[in-house]
């Protein structure tokens, strides 16, 4: 941590908030854990007593029939019957009065003897006299009443994980809330600090620099009602006096690009909230559709949203200047709200597809409005920072959305979660006037070329796609990356996790890993790629790493493999995406000179998004025919092969066409 960072007031405020949140949530969670554990232990103990009593009755019945205790057969089946209804039952045994095991099932004799011989824990609230906690097991004894002269007990052992597992899930949910709130608090405090301290101070410095040169034609135009505002109002008064009666100083202010971060966060968060439940919910709603395989239907619904986004985004760019960013954002957010409400209330496949498409339409329009806002309010020197600001909000939503959505859906159900997403989209529409203030005159919509989202025509598309190096990058690396994202992360992962018994909160946590890895490693890898200067190599390597991650499903797609797969997809894409952009710029010199960088990148994004849109449709059909695990392996091998092919072909094509394209 650099000394400069620790001196930063905003950072210190975030640190204080983090500490306070850790303390508060830690205390609540500790209280909840201890209380819940005590109550659940009592319930488990009662259940164990019932089960051991039932077993003892059966053994007694066998003894009544004259079968000697040692001669009882089928004890393993008795245990299997119990274990079938509760997998947390570790063992069942009959122990003689001398402590010798007469029958044992579940664990082997030595293990059971070790558990029974272990010292009992002292905290035994809620347990009866015949129960104790030993070596991580809840042990329940019940004496056999008909064992004649032989004194023996039936002993049932539960793993303590029967209680600890749900408590661990609960703790993970709290950690998710903590993480989300920490990220959110950072955003809010950063927004406040930027709007109330950094931007007014920057404006004041511009005014003062002007004054230092002996010119009095600029005054501060961002006077806030605080201590700085009062001082700046006084400074303005002094500058106006110094300017004299003949000169009217111009009011200046800094653009509030920071607002776009929260706006981008809100519209993506609204959509991502329901991400973990989407496949399962779509399957449930689409189940009634005649003649459509359910898996394929899920793919269509997911694809409908993404394809709409891909198609509407270039159209929205065409109307951006006519409509204006604020109206466009509000329209998009309202469409997304309607789409999410409709999705939450959908009754069949076709209306579901229509609502998802509407939602996608809203998403594309709000995205274009945010992009335009950044372009309008930044000059070329600060454009990257502005875009990074917007991307930061989107990445934050990618992390928080699925994680919070998983927790929420686990409590309130799938349909209300879509409605909660709609509320967030509506909130975004309401906040737009606060967060997307008026554009500053010097960055006005028509002030300079490139200050609005790039428009692309057929000529631009044709000319851009005529470049073999760009085509190679696009179809072997960039488009497959989007395909993996939509096909694997949005479809296969939730479907498979749901199939293997994960609840929605767990699905949300797994999906969150992708965003988290991308957020943490993205800037590091971008710097690394810049330092190496071999962007194409880095982009190809990213594709190979993502492919390797998915191919892990070859060893069985359980939770650990899925976690590793999602993390490796995150690593691969964090490595690949910034390098893809740099490579595309490197190889598109001629097209960029003719149509501008924005237009070339827009063509690339259009193709990527279209391929991303068909990702879930093709993946769902594939999974329908070969199964989810095999589909993961197939996608992994495909990405691996395409990445490898790119690494092989790109240097060759670069030698052939490099100079020609650069010229």
């Amino acid at each position: 941590m650099s000394a400069r960072l620790t001196r930063n007031a905003a950072f210190r405020a975030v640190l204080v908030t983090s500490l306070a949140l850790l303390l508060a949530l830690g205390f609540i969670s500790y209280t909840a854990l201890t209380e819940t554990r005590a109550v659940l232990l009592g319930q488990l103990a009662q259940k164990a007593e019932l089960e051991v009593d039932q077993t003892a009755r059966r053994v007694d019945h066998a003894l009544e029939l004259g079968i000697p205790l040692q001669g009882i057969v089928g004890f393993d089946r008795l245990f299997a019957g119990l274990h079938e209804t509760d997998a947390e039952i570790a063992f069942l045994a009959i122990v003689g009065d001398d402590g010798v095991l007469l029958h044992a099932a579940g664990l082997d004799g030595e293990e059971i003897t070790a558990v029974l011989g272990a010292p009992a824990q002292e905290t035994q609230a809620g347990l009866s006299a015949d129960q104790s906690l030993r070596a991580g097991h809840l042990v329940t004894y019940q004496a056999l009443s008909n064992s004649g002269f032989v004194q023996a007990d039936v002993v049932l052992g539960y793993r303590e994980s029967a209680i600890d597992r749900p408590l661990r899930d609960n703790l993970l949910d709290v950690l998710i809330i903590l993480l989300a709130v920490l990220l959110l608090s950072f955003e809010v405090l950063l927004l406040l600090f930027t709007v109330h301290a950094v931007l007014p101070a920057r404006t004041a410095q511009r005014v003062l620099r002007n004054v230092a040169h002996g010119t009095f034609n600029l005054v501060h135009g961002q006077i806030l009602r605080d201590e700085m505002g009062r001082a700046m109002a006084r400074l303005n008064q002094a500058v106006r006096i110094a300017a004299g009666r003949t000169t009217k100083p111009e009011e200046i202010s800094e653009p509030r690009v920071i607002g776009v971060r929260l706006l981008a966060f809100l519209f993506v968060f609204a959509e991502e909230l329901a991400r973990p439940i989407m496949p399962a919910f779509f399957r449930q709603v689409a189940a009634g559709a005649e003649g459509v395989p359910t898996d394929a239907a899920i793919g269509w619904v997911l694809g409908a949203h993404m394809l709409t986004v891909a198609l509407v985004m270039p159209l929205a760019s065409l109307y951006y200047e006519r409509i204006g960013r604020r109206r466009m954002y509000v329209a998009g957010a309202l469409l997304a709200t309607a789409g999410l409400v409709g999705t939450g209330l959908a009754q069949g496949l076709w209306d579901l597809i229509a609502w998802r498409a509407l939602s996608g339409c809203g998403y594309a329009i709000t995205f274009t409005a945010c992009q335009g806002f950044v372009l309008e309010n930044t000059d070329r020197s600060k454009r990257s920072q502005g875009i990074a600001m917007m991307v930061g909000g989107i990445m934050l939503a990618d992390i928080c959305g699925p994680a919070i959505g998983g927790v929420l859906a686990g409590q309130i159900g799938a349909r209300p979660t879509f409605l909660a997403g709609a509320c967030m989209a509506l909130l975004a529409a309401l906040l737009v006037s606060v967060l997307m203030g008026r554009a500053l005159p010097r960055f006005g919509p028509r002030a300079a070329a490139g200050d609005a989202p790039a428009r692309i025509g057929w000529t631009t598309i044709a000319e851009t796609l005529r470049n073999p190096l760009l085509l190679l990058l696009l179809f072997l690396i960039a488009a497959p990356a989007k395909f993996l994202l939509s096909g694997y992360l949005y479809f296969l992962v939730p479907m498979r996790l749901s199939e293997t018994g994960s609840d929605v909160a767990e699905i949300g946590r797994v999906l969150m890993i992708y965003g988290l890895v991308a957020l943490l490693l993205g800037p590091v890898f971008a710097r690394l790629a810049d330092r190496m200067g071999r962007h194409a190599l880095v982009a190809g390597t990213g594709g190979v790493i993502a492919g390797l991650g998915l191919s892990l499903a070859l060893f069985g797609a359980g939770l650990p493999v899925m976690l590793a797969g999602v993390a490796m997809l995150g690593i691969g894409q964090a490595l690949s995406i910034p390098a893809q952009v740099a490579t595309a710029i490197d190889v598109s010199g001629a097209a960029i000179r003719r149509h501008g960088q924005g237009a070339v990148m827009a063509v690339m994004r259009l193709v990527e998004r279209l391929v991303g849109g068909v990702g879930p449709i093709i993946t769902a059909s594939l999974a329908h025919h070969i199964g989810l695990e095999q589909a993961m392996v197939a996608l992994g091998f495909a990405s691996l092969s395409l990445g490898g092919l790119f690494l092989l072909l790109f240097p060759l094509l670069m030698r052939l066409y490099g100079k020609e394209i650069a010229a």
Binding site: T36, Q43, V174, G214, F216, R225, A231, I241, A242
Partner: protein, 255 residues
């Protein structure tokens, strides 16, 4: 009315809101989770009883007896009811929901199986009652009746109420961290007010007296990076501002 709020207050209010939101969400989540887990564990207990009674009934049904023909039915139910102190009643009913045998406290107002008689298995967790049931089939797979087990609803409600009050109490108590947080935020931004008050006073002094002295020392002390840079810019621009004000006072126009 315009309310003047300094940055420390704004940041403090934001921090308080964030903590409030996080505490509310966590407390609510813990309470909901507890309710969910508690119900699940009770449900599992009831399932054990239901499965055992069903096994006993199936022995009779496999012999071709109807439910009301099983001789020791009441004794079976009574044994199960005695086996768990929190079970208040067990009822075996026919496929139409008419009771065949009951054990335990007979609460005529609480007959949950009547609404669920057609279902294979069911459960009810509400403030009015807690119960679970399942259907029983004969050897031919035909409906032979059903079993309903009721849990002590008062105990269920009391445990929920006790735990919720404990959790919400803990939530309320944890909100106390807001106080030191706000104090810490004020400490972080404490010098800002003084610095800008001094700057305002200095500009005011220049406007009224057209004073030409050096900027006061107190202007140098600031906690936050952007403010530090601003004060530094002011120090650089001060002499020019003084000249401008003097010229303006003399009737000239430097611009």
């Amino acid at each position: 009315m315009h309310i003047r709020t300094n940055l420390a207050t704004k940041m403090g209010m934001a921090v308080a809101m964030i903590i409030l939101l996080a505490v509310a969400a966590t407390t609510l989540l813990n309470a909901l989770r507890f309710d969910q887990l508690y119900s699940q564990f009770i449900q599992r207990r009831l399932d054990v009883i239901l499965a055992d009674i069903r096994r006993d009934l199936v022995v009779g049904l496999d012999l071709g007896l109807p439910l009301n023909g099983i001789e020791n039915l009441s004794a079976i139910l009574a044994r199960h009811e005695r086996g768990d102190a929190e079970i208040v009643s067990i009822t075996v009913h026919d496929c139409q929901g008419r009771p065949v045998a009951t054990a335990g406290r007979d609460d005529a107002s609480f007959t949950p199986w009547t609404s669920f008689a057609g279902q294979e298995s069911w459960r009810l967790f509400s403030t009015t009652g807690v119960a679970a049931g399942r259907r029983v089939h004969d050897a031919f797979g035909q409906c032979a009746g059903g079993i309903s087990v009721s849990y002590d609803a008062a105990e269920y409600r009391a445990t929920l109420a006790r735990t919720n009050s404990l959790l919400f109490g803990a939530g309320g108590l944890s909100l106390l961290v807001i106080i030191p947080s706000i104090l810490a935020i004020h400490a972080i931004f404490r010098r800002r007010k003084t610095v800008f008050a001094a700057l305002e006073a200095d500009v005011d002094h220049l406007i009224h007296d057209q004073g030409a002295g050096d900027a006061p020392d107190r202007l140098e002390h600031s906690d936050t990076d952007p403010d530090k840079a601003l004060v530094e810019s002011y120090r650089h621009a001060r002499q020019a501002l003084v000249r401008g004000l003097r010229d303006a006072a003399r009737g000239g126009n430097p611009a």
